[in-house]
């Protein structure tokens, strides 16, 4: 009498009921209810992780720029965090911080540190020696040299680091659904359980588009902030 359990697909179309590879109508029906909110959450996860990671890495890079002895220990810590497999890290953190945003963020931030620290420090060190010599000779204080010379000249490397960190975090944040039903990882996990490829493809594609859009935005920001990098001598 009890037939096989058939999942409830509501007012699903033939395409959805037949489990076809991709059903555009499902995407249209679920854009507002499922996909858009997850996308917004995903952007939120990424922004917070990169912002917090940037603040920590920037402070560490400034310190290491001032006191070169600090570079090796900072780089080792960041590299260590970077090498822990993400799922293992979530597993390790859950007993301590629970199934919370904090768990997810600690992990995501941890992965941004290495690339951001390295790039900010490289950027700060990229000011040409003759420009620094001239700066000292003209009576710029250390602070003025940092703010007016070293930091602006660090921008290209710094922004390159932020680009990599953002793209990596967008991709990594999908795994956060392992801990918390948030972000584009959640429809992907659901889809894997339900064998529903439409959801998988739609959410995966959104994650890719988000990464590409964020990267393009940062490239534009870089162009606006560093006009001198494109100034070349007329032939």
């Amino acid at each position: 009498m009890n037939g096989p359990v058939i999942p409830e697909f509501g007012r699903g179309s033939d395409c959805v009921r037949d489990r076809e590879l991709f059903c555009a109508d499902w995407v249209a029906d679920n854009w507002r209810g499922v996909l858009l909110p997850r996308l917004v959450e995903h952007v939120e996860l990424t922004l917070v992780a990169v912002a917090v990671g940037f603040v920590i890495a920037f402070a560490a890079a400034l310190a290491a720029h001032r006191v070169p002895r600090l570079e090796t220990p900072f780089a080792l810590i960041a590299a260590f965090l970077y090498t822990i497999p993400s799922l293992a890290l979530f597993q390790l953190l859950v007993p301590i911080t629970g199934l919370t945003v904090a768990t997810v963020q600690i992990a995501l931030v941890g992965y941004t540190l290495l690339i951001l620290f390295r790039n900010v420090l490289t950027g700060l060190r990229s000011a040409p020696a003759d420009a620094l010599e001239a700066a000292r000779g003209m009576g710029l204080t250390r602070r003025q040299t940092l703010l007016r010379v070293e930091l602006p000249l660090a921008l290209p490397a710094l922004l390159a680091g932020v680009r990599i960190a953002v793209v990596t975090t967008v991709s990594l944040a999908t795994v956060a659904a392992f801990v918390l039903p948030r972000g584009l990882g959640q429809p992907i996990f659901d889809a894997l359980r339900e064998f529903f490829t439409t959801k998988l493809i739609a959410a995966g594609l959104l994650a890719v588009l988000l990464a590409v859009a964020a990267d393009a935005l940062l490239v534009l920001l870089g162009r606006a902030l560093t006009p001198w990098t494109r100034a070349r001598r007329a032939a």
């Binding site: 040409p128 001239a134 003209m138 009576g139 070349r232």
Partner: protein
């Protein structure tokens, strides 16, 4: 600002881990408005001496006075902002355009915008760069010579009394270098700064200096004299070798035909070269030798002013040398 005198008093600098001093008891005075060129082989302490003035290098012993005040007692930031500093690679800030580079020190000093802008335009004009064309360019868009001009304009921006120039033309091609040297001389006549200039090029020193300080290894001053005195009477074998075997010819280059007492034009024969009064004695002798003559005519504004023989050239140098 009026030019300030600079006085080195037994100034000494040793770097850690080196037995020999970088600069050993340097004593010399640069009078206000004069160009003092420091020459010597590498490791003779030329750049060290220059950097003692703006305290990029700190004294170990002795003193350096700028405008009568010891640099030891001065606030280092204020001291540097009051001294123009030009270096070999120009040291322009790559992320700032030419106008912003030149405006560096006025901005640090908090000048009103309008005054800074006017000053930047004035200085770019002074170094031969059109402000409208070059003000908005970045250093990467300039040639080496143009960068050096901007570096000089930047150093002069806040009208310092003293200018320190560390091999400013050393990285330029010979044609650009000569042009910048000539322009620097013309500019110096106009702005009258007290200049300490470091080079390892004897010809450059002879051309630009009011006085030359020759330093030897170990940072010891071998001789301090006007170019003419130095070339006529080197203090010792080291100075003579450093000046080169052609120091007699270098002395000739210091004088122009118009500067010497001429002989009558009636002594000229057909075929003797006729040269403008602005020609250097060196070039005049070269022209006579090239034509195989022992006399040349000296013309000014198209009219013959007199003549000069090779014998007379020797006489002129001999008399000045004995002085």
């Amino acid at each position: 600002m009026n030019p300030q005198g600079i006085e080195f008093r037994d100034a000494t600098k040793r770097y850690a881990g080196r037995a020999e001093a970088a600069l050993d008891g340097l004593t010399l005075e640069v009078r206000p408005g004069e160009v003092c060129v420091l020459v010597g082989p590498s490791g003779a302490g030329k750049t060290t001496a220059l950097k003692l003035v703006n305290r990029l290098v700190e004294l170990d012993a002795g003193d350096v006075l700028v405008g009568g005040r010891s640099v030891r007692e001065a606030d280092v930031t204020a001291l540097r902002r009051g001294i123009g500093y030009v270096i070999q690679q120009a040291g322009l800030f790559p992320h700032l355009d030419v106008a912003a580079n030149v405006a560096t020190v006025p901005r640090l000093l908090g000048w009103p915008r309008a005054r800074t802008r006017a000053r930047v335009a004035e200085l770019l004009d002074l170094v031969g760069l059109d402000p409208a064309t070059y003000g908005r360019l970045y250093p990467a868009q300039l040639s080496g010579g143009q960068r050096q001009r901007v570096g000089l304009a930047r150093a002069l921006a806040a009208d310092p009394g003293v200018l320190l120039m560390d091999e400013p033309f050393g990285a330029l091609d010979p044609i650009t270098r000569t042009r910048l040297q000539e322009e620097f001389l013309a500019l110096q006549r106009e702005v009258r700064k007290t200049v300490v200039f470091v080079t390892h090029d004897v010809d450059e020193a002879v051309m630009l200096a009011d006085r030359i300080g020759v330093l030897r290894e170990g940072g010891v001053l071998a001789q301090y004299a006007t170019p003419d005195e130095l070339l006529a009477a080197p203090a010792d074998g080291f100075v003579a070798r450093f000046l080169g075997a052609d120091r007699g010819l270098k002395r000739l280059a210091l004088r122009r035909l118009g500067d010497v007492e001429l002989e009558p034009a009636s002594l000229l024969a057909d075929g003797d070269p006729r040269l403008p009064a602005a020609t250097s004695l060196r070039d005049a002798v070269s022209a006579m030798l090239a034509d195989g003559r022992d006399r040349c005519g000296v013309a000014e504004n198209g009219a013959l002013r007199g003549s000069l023989s090779l014998d007379r050239v020797v006489e002129v140098l001999g008399r000045d040398g004995a002085r």
